[in-house]
């Protein structure tokens, strides 16, 4: 493995930076949303759920295309940001983070929502009866009781963002140190026929993804053993 020393780590660093930021932002955005979905009796729930799940079924190119339209300097949002703050979103790292947040949204929302829905509703009501607001109940009662779901949500969102390819390529392009994340770098290497390096990159991502999933399943298994469910 002499190629191992020649590895350029920048794409991996960029992937992890993107995934970490996305998971952190999504945690705060998706948490109240998942809580709302789990508690609401509103008729709008199926619509919101369908909308949330869209990134799972849509081809990444479709999502990437719309994101590009939304973020480009021809769109009202892109125009506003560029003229007022000098921020360019398309083909930039910031744009990637925004696109990733949309792309990975369901992976944060769904585990949290099903975690909340599995809680004893009487426990939530007991908190309201104790005079606590919905926000306080979420933070002090609901969230501490769904730790396995929380861990799943965070890690799967992180891993899924690392594994992102189509949307990244559409929105971010392939700019070294800016938008060339690991998955894009592999595509690049294969295009220039550098199979040896591509092999190392792919192997690393494979090992990473497997370890992450193993960690989630192992932790959840242990947690279930502890509360006597298995």
């Amino acid at each position: 493995m002499e190629g191992f020393h020649a590895i350029e780590w920048a794409p991996f660093v960029l992937s992890f930076k993107l995934a970490g930021l996305t998971a952190a932002i999504l945690f705060f955005v998706a948490l109240p949303f998942a809580w709302f979905l789990s508690q609401t009796r509103s008729r709008s729930k199926p619509f919101l759920e369908a909308f949330t799940a869209l990134p799972i079924v849509l081809p990444p190119s479709v999502l990437g295309f719309y994101m590009l339209l939304l973020l480009s300097h021809n769109s009202p949002i892109g125009q506003f940001l560029e003229s007022h703050f000098g921020i360019k979103l398309a083909f930039s790292f910031t744009g990637l983070v925004i696109a990733s947040c949309f792309y990975s949204f369901p992976f944060m929302v769904q585990p949290l929502q099903s975690g909340f829905e599995s809680l004893n509703p009487h426990m939530i009501e007991a908190s309201y009866l104790a005079g606590k607001s919905s926000a306080r109940t979420l933070w002090s009662v609901a969230l501490p009781n769904i730790k396995p779901s929380l861990l799943t949500a965070l890690i799967v969102t992180f891993a899924h963002t690392v594994g992102e390819f189509g949307v990244v390529l559409m929105v971010g392009g392939n700019i070294p140190h800016e938008t060339r994340v690991a998955s894009v770098a592999i595509y690049d290497l294969v295009e220039v026929m550098d199979y040896e390096k591509a092999n190392i990159y792919a192997g690393l991502l494979l090992a990473f993804s497997f370890s992450v999933l193993l960690m989630v399943y192992w932790f959840n298994h242990r947690q279930k053993m502890r509360v006597g469910m298995v």
Partner: protein
């Protein structure tokens, strides 16, 4: 003290029906509510606590809890509520369950001692027996010193010995804190020991019966 005149739809095993509630409760009453399962006993308590919607009016002392469909939030009613399945906060210890409701350490300690669970106050609630859990739930329900205590079959998941013990403790708390209490129960014996008034929920109505009915029911059993 407590005036209820409301109605609400029930979706029970016997199809859709309307529950009509038109009853008053006096201060210090211990009302035991009996009736077939699915008759609406729980719904009555839950509506009173503000956990369910209904149409009509509920006033407690001088406060309006329900008028038309407009209801006062659960958080603002300050009722003590005990669920059949305890509904404790699993992520907290016994004492934390109480202090979460009201951070009055001294009062929490008093209640724990009254319920004879002070020695397990630092244990996680997941590790407790059913009887211990229900005593924690009772103590927790009293932390905000409610004037109204609502209990939805609090003893039905417990064994006979623990039931007898808790029956005594509930009665003691009811008198000691001068509460007005409404309790759903299936157990005639329990009702005999605690009730000062008896309601039956049947055919979508709440009907009051004299306590002597309990003796007849007891003999039948």
């Amino acid at each position: 003290m407590l005036k209820m005149a409301f109605e609400r739809q029930l979706c029970g095993s016997s199809g859709k029906m309307t529950l009509h509630v038109n009853v008053d409760v006096n201060k210090g009453d211990f009302v035991v509510i009996m009736g077939e399962s699915g008759a609406g006993k729980s719904t009555l308590l839950r509506t009173l606590a503000g956990l369910e919607d209904a149409y009509g009016s509920i006033t407690f002392e001088d406060t309006v809890w329900l008028e038309g469909t407009k209801k006062l939030a659960v958080q603002q009613r300050n009722v003590g509520f005990v669920f059949q399945d305890y509904a404790l906060f699993d992520n907290m210890s016994v004492k934390e369950n109480l202090l979460f409701v009201n951070p009055d350490n001294e009062f929490a300690q008093t209640l724990l001692e009254m319920m004879e669970i002070a020695q397990i106050s630092h244990r996680n609630v997941r590790q407790l027996s059913g009887g211990q859990k229900q005593r924690v739930a009772l103590a927790r329900a009293l932390m905000r010193r409610p004037k109204l205590l609502l209990m939805d079959e609090p003893l039905s998941a417990l064994d006979p010995r623990m039931r007898r013990k808790l029956t005594g403790q509930i009665k003691m708390l009811h008198e000691r804190f001068e509460m007005t209490t409404l309790m759903v129960s299936h157990d005639v014996n329990e009702a005999k020991q605690m009730a000062t008034r008896l309601w039956f929920v049947e055919n979508g109505q709440v009907a009051e019966y004299p306590l002597s009915v309990l003796d007849t029911l007891y003999k039948e059993e």
